[in-house]
């Protein structure tokens, strides 16, 4: 098993981890050298120039050039470190297209996960090795944080909005999952594991679970069950916007603004429909706040994404 920085960092199991470990090692060497150098100087000066020692103590002359040097040198080095980590960080923010989507809902004190095909997990996440996976996460209560040390990745999980984390696992095996944002009594028990499997095994695992509807199918069922299709349908007598292909489309609002119907917009439209009224429609849609939990919301949005362009 690969470990990072001479075992200081533990197992290294993702593409991000390899890059982070390289930077960590470089920093360790650099800062270690500086710390060792400074501490050595302090010790050497303390001994050599101790009171009573018979050494030359003529005061040193002006050292402005030295001061400038030890101001500018760290500045340049710091910019270099910043640039390196910024570059890797930006990469961590952009999931590759086609990454396997998984929904994560955190609540006190457990992790609920669901694959797109429908298979659900509690406190465990099975993923294929070598393929990118993107987690869309939200919380039902307090702020939590999804932390996998072996991947060197962490992302806070917030109530009321979705945050995203993507990774590509590089080693098969089991890796601890921790909650890393204090969330109450059993924060330290909100622990799980990531199970990385060879792709073929993962495929088998995915198909072998209890038959479940995919998230989009479940979302469609909710769309009907909650009565959304009663209004948002071409045959309805109530005048409501048609939602086929809505995801990502530009929407013109009653107050003159135009917004892109991103996931946050879709989510708000279900929970707080009076917030952004579409031009040409009356504000008659009721709010579904309190009737749909995080997972249901995600399923509805997943369904809306699946309706494609008309």
């Amino acid at each position: 098993m690969t470990t990072g920085a001479w075992h200081l960092l533990g197992p290294q199991a993702s593409t991000a981890a390899a890059r982070t470990d390289a930077l960590f090692l470089a920093m360790l060497l650099l800062c270690g050298a500086v710390a060792a150098g400074l501490c050595t100087l302090v010790v050497v000066f303390s001994i050599r120039y101790r009171r009573g020692a018979n050494v030359d103590r003529t005061p040193p002359r002006d050292a402005t050039r030295l001061e400038v040097a030890w101001t500018l040198t760290p500045l340049v080095i710091f910019f270099g470190i910043f640039a390196w980590s910024a570059h890797d960080y930006v990469g961590e923010q952009r999931p590759p297209p086609g990454a396997l989507p998984v929904t994560v809902v955190a609540k006190q004190w457990m992790w609920k996960l669901q694959h797109r095909e429908g298979r659900r997990e509690i406190n465990e996440l099975h993923v294929p090795r070598g393929e990118p996976v993107v987690l869309t996460m939200s919380s039902e209560d307090a702020i939590h944080s999804f932390f996998v040390p072996a991947f060197r990745l962490k992302q806070d999980v917030l109530p009321g909005r979705w945050t995203r984390l993507w990774f590509t696992a590089t080693e098969a095996g089991e890796f601890p999952l921790f909650c890393a944002e204090y969330c109450g009594t059993e924060h330290s028990r909100m622990i799980g594991r990531i199970v990385v499997m060879p792709p073929a095994d993962f495929g088998r695992w995915l198909r072998s679970g209890p038959a479940q509807p995919s998230r989009a199918q479940y979302g469609f069922a909710l769309f009907r069950q909650l009565g959304c299709s009663g209004c948002h349908d071409a045959r309805s007598t109530i005048h409501a916007p048609l939602l086929d292909g809505i995801a990502g489309r530009t929407v013109h609002l009653a107050d003159g603004r135009s917004v892109v119907a991103d996931d946050q917009y879709l989510r708000d439209s279900i929970l707080v429909p009076e917030k952004d009224i579409v031009a040409g429609f009356a504000p008659v849609m009721p709010s579904f706040a309190g009737q749909v939990g995080e997972e249901d919301l995600d399923a509805l949005v997943e369904y809306l994404h699946s309706t494609g362009s008309p």
Binding site: D56, F82, Y89, L158
Partner: protein, 538 residues
């Protein structure tokens, strides 16, 4: 004993109604020491619990309340006030040749505000405690915690006014009461540090005040500012909170740097290297320190653009601190170094602050922080700065100016042993925590996976050594007050104006107007033996 501020009124009332900055400093010292040991008791139980992976000493809720109590007490009731309100209060007028601060009655008021706030906070802890962490993140603190959050925030709110009052007092004192001829660039660096700290206190503390008010309003009236269920934003809380709390750490460390800049030159017998650069670095840290708060929020869900900006600024703010460390090291070059207790603490500061500061660079690097934030790496980082740095400097200052304030010496050998014990115990306690964090142990964990036990055991053992090192001064300082040898006016042959008056000083500080030296730190390492004026101790 000849007349001094200590003998000028012997009743309790003369102390509780005093406007003498020196007596107020001692009132602060007593209160702060009390709070330090309460916070330390919480830490002791925490380290005892963490010696084993299972939660076998206390339950989950108690543990969560303990680390919250430890943080709240140590940050607001110890670290923020310690050096400014004890050493700053005592020394600032003496260092500038004044007879008191600009507003002596507001100074007394600031002590009462501090004690009142502290007692309200303690009341919340004794009534049942608070379990939100000292950072009070919403919506946990506003919607889900059923502990005494409102009461403890009221305590913090009250204590904040003490900080603001102290800051206003110090700013005006430095502008208005310097002795004739004592221009800004002749001031000791401790005065510069107190000035910059006071600017931060005045500008940052009110933001904490308003944040605590809003959290209390949310808890009591469910208004929906921070609660997403009502359309609020939990990140707004984090921005408001850290906008104060990051500059707050410079409130804790700048005065400590000021102390080190007084002690090092005295015991190396050399002027501080690069005085002007040091003064500008102090101002630089204070101002850029207001621009980096978002580095506590890299994984919070804030935009990547914001994270990039805060990361860059965090690297920039490290530069003036680096300059200071280099300059302190250079101050030792060609010195004539003595290893009295103040010097041991000051040298310890330089080493430990360096390590703490370098690990800060790890945390400023975005991808490293993604892994290390919310782990024990951060806990180790800030304890290196706060404990290895600020607390050691506080002890350096206590030992350096003890003779001036009390007129007595303390036992030199015991004080050096304590300093070494603190240094060793500190590293044993906190260095393993860097490794724990790098391996992924999250912070605020009551129970943890067994693979983390060995390092936790080392850390807990170190805490025992550290505790002994902290308890020893109680003994030998008490002994010093009762039986210590009389100190002369200037037992360390230091150059500050405060050393020109008697030990302990008279109530109005100077019997004759003091002499203002043309330069601060006019030390000469080439002066030989007894001519340096250092007294022989019994």
């Amino acid at each position: 004993m000849s007349a001094s501020y200590l003998t000028d009124g012997l009743t309790i009332r003369s102390w509780l109604a005093t406007t003498d900055h020196k007596r107020i400093a001692i009132l602060y010292a007593i209160a702060i020491t009390g709070f330090f040991f309460v916070g330390g008791a919480a830490a002791t139980i925490i380290r005892l619990e963490l010696a084993t992976p299972a939660g076998d000493l206390v339950g989950h809720d108690t543990y969560n309340k303990l680390f919250t109590a430890h943080g709240v007490i140590m940050v607001w009731l110890f670290l923020i006030p310690s050096i400014p309100s004890v050493l700053g209060n005592f020394l600032l007028p003496l260092m500038i040749g004044a007879s008191d601060l600009a507003f002596p009655r507001i100074n007394l008021l600031s002590w009462y505000l501090y004690v009142a706030g502290g007692l309200v906070t303690l009341a919340a802890l004794f009534l049942g405690g608070v379990d939100t962490g000292w950072t009070f993140y919403t919506p946990y603190s506003t919607m889900f915690s059923n502990t005494w959050v409102t009461l403890v925030l009221v305590g913090v709110f009250i204590t904040g006014f003490s900080s603001i009052a102290t800051g206003v007092n110090f700013i005006v004192t430095l502008h208005a009461l310097r002795a004739p001829g004592l221009t800004w660039f002749k001031l000791p660096l401790f005065a510069w540090a107190i000035y910059a700290t006071s600017l931060i206190l005045v500008l940052a503390t009110p933001v904490l005040a308003i944040t605590t008010l809003l959290v209390v309003a949310e808890r009591l009236f469910q208004v929906g500012i921070f609660d997403p269920a009502f359309g609020g934003d939990p990140l707004l809380f984090q921005h408001l909170f850290w906008f104060y709390s990051h500059p707050a750490v410079y409130v804790m460390v700048l005065p400590a740097m000021g102390v080190v800049s007084e002690v090092l030159p005295c015991f190396a017998r050399r002027p501080v290297f690069g005085y002007r650069a040091m003064a500008w670095a102090i101002l630089g840290i204070a101002s850029v320190g207001f621009l980096v708060w978002g580095h506590h929020m890299f994984v919070s869900g804030q935009s990547p653009a914001a994270s990039l900006a805060f990361s860059l600024l965090s690297f920039i703010v490290a530069i003036p601190s680096a300059i200071k460390v280099f300059n302190w090291t250079a101050t030792l070059y060609k010195g004539a170094i003595r290893f009295d207790a103040p010097m041991l603490y000051a040298l310890g500061f330089v080493g430990l602050f360096t390590i703490g500061g370098l690990t800060g660079l790890f945390l400023a690097s975005l991808t490293l922080d993604v892994h290390l934030t919310d782990t024990y790496f951060v806990v180790a980082h800030f304890h290196y700065i706060m404990v290895g740095g600020a607390v050691m400097a506080y002890f350096a200052g206590l030992h350096f100016w003890w003779p001036k304030a009390t007129g007595r010496m303390y036992h030199e050998l015991w004080s050096r042993i304590a300093a070494v014990l603190v240094f060793v115990g500190f590293n044993l306690t906190f260095f393993p925590q860097f490794l724990l964090g790098a391996q992924g142990m999250p912070r605020r964990y009551h129970t943890y996976p067994p693979e983390f036990q060995v390092l936790n055991l080392f850390s807990s053992a170190g805490a025992g050594v550290l505790a002994i090192g902290y308890l020893m001064p109680l003994a030998y300082f008490a002994w010093s007050l009762l039986r210590g040898a009389k100190a002369g006016d200037n037992p360390f042959a230091a150059t500050g104006i405060e050393w020109q008056t008697r030990s302990p000083p008279p109530t109005h500080n100077f019997e004759i107007p003091p002499f203002v030296p043309p330069r601060p730190y006019d030390y000469d390492a080439q002066e030989s033996g007894p001519a340096s004026g250092l007294e022989v101790k019994p």
